[in-house]
């Protein structure tokens, strides 16, 4: 494990902010278990729980917390200077941090989605959801990590993207779905394990290409922004 990822993991898991990661996945599992125990038809509770909660809320919100945290927290408290005064090419800082962020997000989201998927349908659907969510975790984290270098308010802007763009506009203006990571994840999961529980208008090739583009493009942007990272001047 590289030193950068070691410090990143220590910083991420050592802060109290880390506890924020648990309520949503627990809620997802609870709802799935409850629905199953009460004998509700999976066709009824599957889409709202798996997609409405799991892919539309849990995945992007966890990715938002983690993705903006791996570098953003260090920028906020100034410790990023210790990392930047090292003779490291900046990609050697961005990539380990992205790996930690995507890894932590994937594990936190994939496990409850797998459980919910198994309860709603089959092991195959559970695995498909987990795999697609992991790809989504990478794309979301790359996006949010870059956001934390581009703006001083990455969490706010990230929330606007998740809630307004993906959540609200996606329902009314179908064109926005082409630029929605959530839709790519649904399309990919449906491709891995075709099920009537998941439905989207975005085609699988579009989803695959766009996910890759977002992950690579925003990572490149983050590397470039970190190269010209300026320490804010004293305000006093």
């Amino acid at each position: 494990m590289s030193t950068v990822s070691w410090i990143t993991a220590r910083g991420l898991l050592g802060r109290r902010r880390f506890l924020l990661l648990f309520p949503l996945p627990v809620l997802l599992i609870l709802l799935a278990v409850l629905s199953r125990a009460l004998g509700v038809d999976p066709g009824e509770w599957g889409p709202p729980v798996l997609v409405g909660l799991g892919l539309a809320v849990v995945l992007p919100v966890i990715a938002l917390i983690v993705g903006t945290g791996v570098l953003g927290a260090e920028i906020d408290d100034g410790t990023v200077v210790h990392l930047l005064t090292k003779p490291l090419p900046r990609w050697q800082i961005v990539l380990p941090k992205l790996a930690v962020a995507a890894g932590v997000t994937a594990v936190t989201v994939a496990v409850p989605l797998y459980v919910a998927g198994v309860l709603a349908s089959s092991v195959r659907v559970g695995l498909a959801l987990a795999a697609a969510a992991s790809i989504g975790a990478l794309a979301y984290c790359a996006f949010f990590l870059a956001l934390s270098l581009v703006t001083r308010r990455p969490v706010l802007l990230g929330l606007v993207y998740v809630l307004i763009w993906e959540g609200l506009l996606g329902n009314f203006v179908s064109g926005t779905k082409v630029l929605s990571i959530q839709q790519y994840v649904i399309a990919l999961a449906d491709r891995f394990a075709p099920t009537e529980l998941l439905g989207t208008d975005v085609s699988v090739p579009v989803a695959a290409v766009m996910s890759t583009l977002i992950a690579v493009g925003f990572t490149a942007l983050a590397v470039d922004r970190l190269r010209s990272f300026s320490v804010a001047g004293e305000t006093s």
Binding site: T3, V4, W6, I7, R10, G11, G14, R15, D77, G78, T79, V81, H82, L83, L84, T85, K86, P87, L88, P89, R90, R227, S228, F229, S230, V231, G233, E234, S236
Partner: protein, 318 residues
């Protein structure tokens, strides 16, 4: 407490790096933070002196490659410091902001720095750097439990772990107790003596006086004075002074003082006299003689502009 016999590690690298600032300016919108500063920093300890808000931190950030100059260039041995992480092989920075990974111990923190520098023997380098700042006793405690001075030393150790040719420190003595301050001064002295280029900023005259022979004085974004400290100190003490004087007979005292060569002007006001003086020492010797000779008792003598800012702004005009 062990005797500080730890010497900076000597390397085969050529000693004596040169930090070169050529016409460097930095502005934020309409606000000019640093205005056309040129200087060359060579081996030894240099103090960057100036009142708060003079642009010292902005200048240091540009030197350290954390800010692009709006105009001009900062180069370390010919290579630009901006967008060039390679300079950190030869440059260390201790920023003013007290930012440390509080969840790490000092040893872990310094060791992580050594690893990030890809040093051949990180553990040994970390031990050496921690010994240099005398933090061995507390090295396995989390930095979160440290006092301000100890945190500062942990950060200095991290900045020194790769034995840089150039070390930049922004207000390194803030929050240190007198013993820590002496120790830090001694450390910087030894590093400077060993051919390292050390630059530290401070707004406290005495710190700079004790530590460095060469100073760069910044006022309001400009380089106001530069060179030997004693020369600048003389300029500072010989500058015109203004005193507020109240006495039993202000008018008579004004007449008497105007006859003195050390006095360049007297103003008679409601609240007493404002006396402008060209020679501080001569005036303070003359006043106690002149007044009693005329039967005048001086009730109050207050120097009016002893603030550091006024000292500095005088230097700008000189």
């Amino acid at each position: 407490m062990s005797v500080t016999s730890v010497e900076p590690r000597s390397t085969s690298a050529p000693t004596g790096s040169r930090l070169d600032l050529a016409g460097v300016s930095r502005w934020y919108g309409n606000v000019v933070a640093v205005n056309d500063v040129s200087m060359i920093l060579g081996p030894g300890v240099t103090g960057l002196l100036g009142p708060n808000g003079a642009g010292k931190t902005t200048l240091l950030h540009m030197m350290a490659g954390f800010l692009a100059p709006s105009r001009g260039a900062v180069t370390l041995d010919g290579a630009p410091t901006w967008r060039n992480p390679e300079v950190y092989r030869r440059l260390g920075l201790v920023s003013e902001r007290e930012a440390v990974h509080t969840f790490l111990t000092a040893y872990e923190f310094v060791l992580a720095s050594a690893r990030l520098h890809q040093l051949p023997d990180p553990a040994e380098a970390a031990r050496r750097a921690i010994a240099l700042v005398e933090l061995e006793g507390a090295q396995s405690r989390r930095i979160g439990t440290y006092s301000k001075g100890m945190r500062q030393r942990a950060r200095v150790a991290a900045a020194l772990v790769h034995d840089p040719q150039v070390l930049l420190l922004d207000e390194p003595f803030n929050g240190m107790d007198p013993r820590q301050r002496l120790h830090m001064m001694d450390l910087l002295h030894r590093l400077g003596g060993a051919g390292r280029t050390i630059l530290f900023s401070s707004h406290i005259l005495e710190e700079v006086e004790q530590l460095s022979g060469t100073v760069q004085v910044m006022v309001a974004g400009r380089l106001a004075a530069s060179g030997d400290f004693r020369t600048i100190r003389r300029l500072m003490t010989n500058r015109p002074h203004v005193f507020a004087v109240r006495s039993t007979d202000d008018r008579a005292l004004a007449v008497a003082l105007m006859a003195e060569p050390s006095v360049t002007g007297v103003e008679l006001g409601q609240a007493g006299l404002t006396v402008r003086v060209s020679d501080y020492g001569a005036f303070t010797r003359v006043l106690p003689k002149v007044a009693p000779a005329r039967g005048i008792r001086v009730r109050q003598l207050v120097p009016e502009d002893e603030s550091l800012e006024s000292v500095f702004s005088y230097l700008v005009e000189a």
